[in-house]
């Protein structure tokens, strides 16, 4: 009996699904590991089954693609080629140099107390990204949520945070979020986008080269028109108001130099503000494995290989670019991994269509990135008393103080001096703001553990399990310490079933 090679795919969004299907079709045993209860990731997030949605596509775009992915997943699962582990939160992926295999360490179940290790010959990271939100006075009030968060709660839980919403910030995500909220019955009082038509025009040639993507944007815009949503461009949120929950927001027009135009301030009553300023890739698992980054994203080659042998990455973990790009990258990564695991070099001509789509969509993403830059001047405008680090309640003034007078020159020192980024979220929420306020470059976080891990799970790891990261980092200790009250369970092996 020949052992089929094993591939662990972390993340069951568009990238991870495309990768898992491509590899399974080529004879690889795939274990697909995801924290969510159902496949789909962010773009194809599904309502919980018990909610009995008979028309979930009403909240979705590109539904046919989803049906194809889901059918493929069902088929391969039934045939034992893909094992889908839902509700598994991966906190570390480590290579055992002696055995030459990888261990994917996950915490199982909603309580995330039980440790599980998936062993595989190669790993494919498709962990997606999370939203960047730049602070403004009032952004910690209940009722202020991230744009994607409002969308995720709507798609997954079929709920709205309130009745009257303002959608604000910058980026292509704002359009579908405003459209989704309006379709689901919220009154969307305004969509305030800080980019202006001039920025769009500057990128016009690059954007016009993607008629399909432009039509998609036009479709979102038409939906907003239908719902009578007022779209304000070159407009930014100045403050959110309320005592114990959001009651209104003030928006103002941006001048070309980034200053707020006097007399343009407008107060809009609302109980929901869905706000976002683009996205950042999830890179912790890749960093722990020693993969190089390029900027804030995992660096990959044409085959979607990282620079660590046996580790591939695809989708928004390797750069923000939307679901269609994630699908193309996932497909290429899955095919490359399947070939390499068999000891052969893949022939890129076989994935030429996906390769062309990837090139086009990356160019489009770069053009969008230039359009949807954070609004100029936001950092200078931020009052000293505004909380920047939501976890540790560190203010803008305290963050500024770490640089002047205290002299910090990088994010890590700013963190040590101000405590910004030392809390539960490990700086994921505040790092972009801290970088902007201090002028330090935004570097990836160096988080040894992607998730807080109960001490019992760490203690139950066998001594011989080499390749685990040092957890001596101040952060990791704080994290582990805080969850240490919970009881751990022994580590179980959840390798895929034998298929040959």
């Amino acid at each position: 009996m020949t052992e089929r090679p094993r591939l662990a795919v972390v993340g069951a969004g568009p990238a991870g699904l495309a990768a898992a299907l491509a590899a399974a079709e080529r004879g690889v045993r795939v274990t697909l590991v995801d924290a969510a209860e159902q496949a789909g990731g962010q773009f194809y997030r599904q309502p919980a089954a018990a909610l009995g949605a008979r028309r979930p596509q009403a909240l979705h775009h590109q539904w046919r693609t989803w049906e194809r992915l889901r059918a493929g997943l069902d088929r391969h699962r039934a045939a034992g080629r893909i094992l889908h582990l839902t509700d598994h939160h991966v906190w570390c992926v480590a290579r055992d140099p002696a055995a030459g295999v990888f261990g994917v360490h996950a915490l199982r179940g909603p309580a995330q107390e039980e440790g599980v290790v998936v062993r595989a010959d190669a790993v494919l990271l498709a962990t997606g990204g999370y939203e960047r939100v730049l602070p403004f006075p009032g952004w910690t009030l209940p009722g202020v949520v991230t744009a994607g968060g409002a969308q995720a709660m709507l798609k997954g839980g079929l709920v709205l945070p309130g009745r009257t919403a303002v959608v604000a910030g910058t980026g292509p995500l704002l359009l579908p979020v405003a459209g989704g909220l309006a379709a689901a019955g919220a009154r969307v009082a305004a969509l305030a986008e800080s980019a202006g038509p001039a920025a769009l025009l500057r990128q016009a040639p690059a954007l016009a080269a993607q008629p399909g993507k432009l039509a998609e944007g036009a479709g979102y815009a038409a939906r907003l028109l239908r719902h009578g949503v007022r779209v304000l461009t070159r407009c930014t949120v100045v403050a959110a108001h309320g005592t114990d929950r959001l009651e209104a927001v003030t928006v103002a027009a941006l001048d070309r130099d980034g200053s707020l135009r006097p007399g343009s301030y407008r107060r809009i009553r609302c109980d929901t503000l869905a706000v976002g300023h683009g996205m950042l890739p999830h890179t912790d698992l890749a960093e722990t494995l020693g993969c190089s980054l390029s900027g804030t994203a995992v660096r990959v080659d044409d085959e979607q290989r990282t620079d660590v042998p046996g580790v591939w990455a695809a989708g928004e973990a390797t750069g923000i670019g939307g679901a269609a790009l994630a699908l193309a990258e996932g497909h290429i990564a899955g095919r490359s991994a399947a070939a390499r695991l068999r000891g052969t070099a893949p022939d890129p001509r076989r994935w030429a269509a996906a390769g062309r789509a990837r090139t086009r969509l990356r160019e489009f993403a770069a053009a969008l990135d230039a359009v949807y830059a954070p609004p100029a001047g936001w950092a200078e405008r931020l009052p000293d008393e505004t909380v920047v680090c939501r976890c540790e309640e560190v203010t803008a003034g305290e963050v500024r103080g770490a640089v002047d007078p205290l002299g910090a020159g990088d994010l890590r020192t700013v963190k040590l001096l101000s405590r910004a980024g030392m809390g539960w979220c490990q700086g994921r929420m505040c790092a972009p703001a801290v970088a902007g306020l201090t002028g330090c470059p935004l570097t990836a976080g160096r988080r040894p553990l992607a998730r807080p891990v109960p001490l019992g799970v760490l203690a139950a790891l066998p001594d011989t399990d080499t390749g685990l990261p040092e957890t001596g980092d101040d952060l990791a200790e704080a994290e582990v310490g805080r969850t240490a009250a919970e009881v751990g369970h022994p580590v179980a092996d959840a390798g895929p079933p034998e298929t040959d």
């Binding site: 962010q42 909610l51 709205l160 929420m429």
Partner: protein
């Protein structure tokens, strides 16, 4: 229009949970956060330092702003934990532990 109508949902029978002692109806499959939003509740934590109210922010388990105490266990992310019949959900004050 509401989200349930939009997707023509036929949810299973609702279950009763309590939030700070007040009974609420929650739908099966929803997270604790979704059940609280459906009941009009948007804050269920007060911060350690300034005692300010917080609820959902990122909605996907990244920000830890939505921490809540469920059945006596503090620090549960409400946006991830599914609601179960009879859950006793409490506003989490600070770390949610008695010692601070």
């Amino acid at each position: 229009m509401n989200p349930m109508e939009l997707v023509r949902a036929r949810p299973g029978a609702s279950r009763t949970v309590t939030f700070d002692g007040r009974p609420l109806a929650a739908l099966p499959g929803q997270t604790v956060a979704a059940a609280l939003w459906a009941a009009g509740v948007t804050a269920w934590r007060s911060t350690r330092g300034a005692g300010r109210p917080r609820g959902v922010f990122c909605g996907i388990g990244v920000c830890f702003d939505c921490l809540v105490t469920v059945n006596g266990r503090p620090n549960q992310r409400a946006c991830l934990v599914p609601v179960r019949p009879g859950d006793v959900i409490r506003t989490q004050e600070g770390t949610g532990r008695d010692d601070d």
